[in-house]
Amino acid sequence: MAIDAKFIGKAYPSYTYEVGREKIKEYAKAIKNFDPHYLEDDFAAKSKYGTIIAPPTFAVVYGAYLIEPVFNDRDLNLNMAMLVHGEQELEFFEVVKAGDVITTGAKIVHIQNKEKLDIIAIEVQSKNQHGRDVCRGIYTFVVRK
């Protein structure tokens, strides 16, 4: 069944995520990124950031808390068995540090029905505890029919 375009603009409740130092290290190792900015406390303390920072793509870790409710949205009724990640766009602002508290909101910005597939895009915006932007992402998913 086609995704109803009336859901364009639908917003989801924001989620607040506290960035853990060890979670950053776990993520960095998982992506095989051994940059000392992410892994070495002493190096990080002497860096211009003064502490461990998150890799830019860590944005998808806290961003995921806004994608899950879209996937589970019974109104949208996405066919998850046929869903694939089509495109990803990330725009980075202030660097995310260990201990930051990131609040993220999301809304559906695009729905398109084609003959053999549907496309849905979700915009995710994150701010830190100072109210400053840290990341804006667009997740585009394709649902084959």
């Binding site: 998982a30 990124n33 920072i53 995921a64 990803q88």
Partner: protein, 128 residues
Amino acid sequence: MAIEKGQTFSGSEKVDKYRPIYYAGASGDFNPIHIDPEFGKMVGLGGAILQGLCTLAFASKTVTDWAGDPGKLKRLKCRFSAPVLMEDTISVQGTVTDVQSGRARIDLKVVNQNGVEVLQKVEAEVEA
């Protein structure tokens, strides 16, 4: 480092057998197509496939390693165009296409060992 139009850089990453498991644990993406080879075969993928965002993280690493400071990366986008399987080797080649108002635009080619583009339309912007 002065970034100039035409500069190139590269990197590569081997996808070891357990990479999607590590990535699932760190990211929360436990979709069975990534961690269950039997399920991957059943849905026609030929086995478990790596999370696309992990491949994008490999591409991102190539850029931030080159830039020297992760905070310089300002934008990153891609299309997920082909599955990445275990034991694949992903090669990333970046080319600076433009430098303007303090921003360098970079096109990235991200291919597997057979030259297949696993990501397409891969673009990054870094502070120049």
